[in-house]
Symmetry: C2
Subunit: 359 residues, 2 copies
């Protein structure tokens, strides 16, 4: 994988060189990432970028600095790949920040200048940040009957005690040696992960258990996609019964607006929403453990009613409307109201058996 990216980076440099040799104004072509160029691809079930592009020119007062920055980030990434090391996006900022000789002009003043350049590069040469060896903060834990190979180590996800494996920023370099599971269960809350992990849910139900700790990191989303695509495992997402939970699900499934350019590489369109739903609250007698929805929750739920991917789905319309009408929300921890093992011994087996999912 790294080899292709290096080639793409070289092609970018060669193109600039050719412009110079042809005595043309050197330029870099970059797809536009504004909302005006984000579309929902119904066939793929994903948010993607449209085909509008813009050119960044060297001889253009408004473009020159960004042109230089783009070239610097591309060169930095190539060095990372050459040396086979990784850097955080903050490390990169500090490494590239300097003052141009005989001037007071800095290459970069703030990280907020270098971060978008990384995304420009991602879309310009159509690669993932992780493939450029640039890392983001790690988040997420995994357990299951899986053995992987990572940086020369063989790691057995079933033998990590209470800890689980901490999902790193870059999971495109791991190799799956053994995957014994029938599905992937993604849990929004770490507390839910701990409960299910302690109850050995993944062992009893032959699944891979992933805790995202809120909105999943890119690394976690990529891992979910790889397990789905490479190992044909269905993915079930288990979140709070509120608009935020529904949004986490939709990000895993369809991507997000800000990362629309990488949707196809980190989202999982076939993912299904297992629960918690407001209907579950009544079905499993959890009314006592619900929370009054705040104005912002109701507002968010109303917005989501009109999301492209919820709009045409009667089940989602029903659940979102229930949130609004009843004015309540429920966390997955609410299941503890019926007993600590209710989640792993009753609720989840029941939902999985009935295949009571939302699409």
């Amino acid at each position: 994988m790294a080899k292709d990216v290096k080639k793409e980076l070289q092609k970018l440099g060669d193109k600039i060189l050719q412009d110079i040799e042809k005595k043309e104004n050197p330029s870099i072509e970059i797809p536009i990432r504004a909302l005006s160029n984000v579309v929902f691809d119904k066939k793929l079930g994903q948010l993607t970028l449209g085909d509008k592009t813009a050119k960044r020119y060297y001889f253009n007062v408004a473009h020159a600095k960004k042109f230089m920055q783009t070239a610097m980030v591309a060169s930095f990434s190539k060095q990372l790949i050459d040396q086979n090391i990784h850097a955080s996006i903050r490390d990169m900022f500090y490494n590239l920040k300097r003052t141009l000789p005989d001037s007071n002009e800095n290459t970069f003043d703030e990280q907020s200048e270098s971060d978008p350049i990384i995304v420009d590069l991602e879309v310009a040469i159509d690669v993932l940040r992780e493939q450029l060896h640039l890392t983001t903060d790690r988040k997420g834990i995994v357990a299951g009957n899986v053995i992987i190979q990572d940086r020369g180590d063989s790691i057995d996800w079933s033998k990590l005690g209470s800890g689980g494996w901490s999902i790193p920023s870059t999971v495109d370099e791991i190799t799956f040696k053994k995957v014994e599971a029938e599905f992937v269960l993604v849990v929004e809350k770490n507390a839910g992960f701990e409960r299910l992990h302690e109850d050995k849910f993944w062992q009893k139900h032959k699944c891979i258990l992933i805790g995202t700790g809120g909105q999943p990191s890119r690394g976690t989303r990529l891992l979910i996609q790889r397990l789905n695509q490479e190992h044909k495992l269905p993915v079930y997402v288990f979140c709070d019964a509120d608009a935020y939970g529904a949004y986490i699900y939709s990000v895993i499934k369809s991507g997000s607006i800000s990362l629309a350019h990488v949707s196809d590489r980190i989202s999982t369109p076939s993912a299904k929403f297992l629960g918690l739903t407001i209907s579950d609250v009544y079905e499993y007698d959890l009314k006592k453990a619900t929370i009054k929805a705040k104005d912002v929750d109701i507002k968010r739920a109303k917005e989501m009613l009109n999301y492209e991917w919820f709009k045409k789905n009667p089940k989602w319309q029903k659940e979102l409307n229930l949130m609004i009408e009843k004015g309540i929300k429920a966390e997955i921890e609410a299941l503890s109201h019926k007993g600590l093992k209710f989640m792993s011994e009753t609720y989840l087996p029941d939902k999985l058996k009935k295949k009571d999912f939302l699409d």
Copy 2:
């Protein structure tokens, strides 16, 4: 360990029973946790609770509800220990929340009511929340030449690829099978952990590498203390050069005001501050990679000048005063300004060799 805690919980119940049998007003004695009862123990080098206590009575309109809540939490913990399972503090809230028969009165309305009861119980019977089988969110990663036993699994911290071992909430139940290290290096930032982990710093320098991801979790602090006390490993803390970094260090070393009652069980008084310092900024030519301190940073640094444990230390006085005078701060990522491997190949080996630490 679990056995003793169970005995303590039983003693608490027996005491209430005896009160009833003696026809006395049942009561629970709880040390006061207000600032007025927090003292800095100079000999131990820790914040601890003083000896003021208060009694919570059953027949007292102002106490009755809290009395009931305390008994409920104690009973819940005993059940967890009996069943050998763990619960998050949020799970506990949902589990115990109910409406008293023939009334509109709930046992607990909000988690903000059950959380302090847990701390009451911690101080009343002098145990840790973790020993009551109540968990908090996990945070922190570790790597090194160590093999532990946890929930029946043998886990080798040197063979976890890029991921490292995710430190769970409860580390008092793990057993160390092999510890081959000369010191513990605690890094405030995950990005720093990633850098040092990728460079195999822990292997080359025979240390255990711990990433806290900001303010360390209780589990991470307990792990640091266990490695220090049980394996006599010196602990070096590596943070940003700002007041927040100094505070993280002081929490690891001396405890915090809100957790003063458990300082002796989760802090490490012999820990030393390795860097980053403002002096380092000048020593290693990092001026270009510093950030202008905000008003809040300066205010915080001024407050810390008067902290008991910084007040009598000339080196800390010098560093805090430098922050204030120069009006700058620096993150550990700033070291990338001198090259990505500068941290692992130059800065840290240099500091460790010179033993250039702050106490």
